[in-house]
Amino acid sequence: MDFELNEEQQLMLEEVKKVCSEKIAPQAEQVEKEGRFPRETLMLLASMDLFGLVIPEEYGGLDMGFLTWSVIAEEISKACATTGLSFGANILCIYPIMAFGNEEQKKKYLTRLAKDSIGAFGLTEPGAGSDAGSVKTQAVKKNGKYYLTGRKIFITNGGEADVYVIIASTDPSRGARGLSAFIVEKDAPGFTIGQHFDKMGFRGLPNVELVLEDCEIPEENLLRREGAGFKVAMETFAAGRIGVGIGALGVAQRALEEAVKYSRERVQFEKPISSFQAVQHLLADMATEIEAARLLLYKAAWLKDQGKPFEKVASMGKYYASRVAMDSTVKAVQIFGGYGYTTDYPVERLMREAKLFEIIEGTSEIQKNIIALKVLKEYK
């Protein structure tokens, strides 16, 4: 066992740190306050080949795997969680095409996504959230084309993305087994963007309603086969949980770093508050839990890269990291005192951001359901 990053990872991380501190972190507050999508910083990441980190080389990627992706994405999320989550949502579009696409689909779409196309994934509907199998959007096949009708909500990168993977039902009588996954391009006829959701945090991240009205897509854009949609969605979520967990980790790590810095500078009772044991213990808990979350997520990514079952550990990592992000950001606000509650310091934003990770990509309750199911099977 080896906990050291290899030389390639170290060199890549060094450059990513540079771009994060010079370009990405400085605009994070503005992205939040103005609710502005950070397109330029994403394109900067694309220009550094970072969109293609997990994509195989034959489709223009670097084939570096999820562990390397994780190391890098934590840094991005730490600098600007909105940029990080948008970057992470790309994976939800890349992964299903990588895992379920045929040669033509991979050639056509992965090469674009490896370069600079933004991706999105649409499953959630007003009536289908945790119960992902109850998707109502319908796909009807006519003359070699599919026509999709329905509404998707909360879709990350919606409106900014070039390529979408959409889950719809080709056979409502079969429920979850009647679901299918489709690749939809942003300019498909009948595809429009509806409501923009106003949110507690991540205000620069687009989360929109996708309105599909007889949205016409070529038959060759079906992933795998009719009825495979639920499997596509579940595997995509499993891989995506590493990404969401890493996003949470970045937010938690940032909270720790901000709290350490502030506690050394803030003087009360003629001492820096970092000299008070009560404050030190908050920092110790944050640091310990963050390290544990990181190890869980790295293990999930490593298992995935080894082609081993990773779903249970990915759920653990996502569940734990999002809880740690929530706890750590609350502690950070506490350490900042009244200033922590103001928008002059970043910790209130981090706290608002942290909450999201306990909801998306399967709520914490759903993660526990998954973990429990696996554990009950494993030790029977």
């Binding site: 390639e8 220009s47 550094m48």
Partner: protein, 264 residues
Amino acid sequence: MNIIVCIKQVPDTEHLHEVSINPENNTLNRTGIPSIINPFDSNAVEEALRIKEKLGGKVTVITMGPPQAENALRETLAMGADEAILLSDIKLAGSDTLATSVALTRAIEVIGDYDLILFGKQAIDGDTAQVGPEVSELLAIPLITYARRIEILDGKIKVERVLEEGYEVLEAGLPCAVTVTKEINEPRFASMRGILKARKQEILHWNLEKLRLKEEEVGLKGSPTQVIRIFSPPPRPRGEIIEGENTEEKVAGLLAKLKSHRII
């Protein structure tokens, strides 16, 4: 277009204040201080890459320095430079600007085929701004300093040269040496592919023999400059703020001060 860029590895600006002076031998103590590419030299590399991307050709980067200067060269390879050469020889140690220029000039002559040589406007540590001009003198090619814009057209180079107020436009034939300012561009971040490629790329090491230089032409022996004393400038005393009830009173106070010092 074959472009040669001369770069220098310097102490990281953020740690510059940690560089201490050794009064015994008048040298600078830089151990343990992280190094970066001299910032203006990154602009020079960026400009070379942009010209190459437009017109084709090759970008070769040279540095004279200790073995760890390889890191600086590798960074430029990751940005997209084609070849990197490290002039490294124990006998080069102690070179002043002239000896540095002699070594660089000889390396450029060994490379032979070049249209343009780019330098930073100055090194942020040595700060002399002499190396570019000296190399152009030794090569007997035209020199344009403080470029903020470079354009290559039909075998000629057109440069906007920064002046105290405004700029002038100069033209010269090729080959030509140019030193660049920060305004000229914003250096790119290295791509991941570039980083992975650079890691495996070979960096050429040239010693005095390869450069066909004699020991007495470079290093301490080849350096006419003698450092007699090196010291930190005394800190500037704080300025005086002239107080007063209102603007008129303050102006009167200022005038009185200036008069008493016979400045006006």
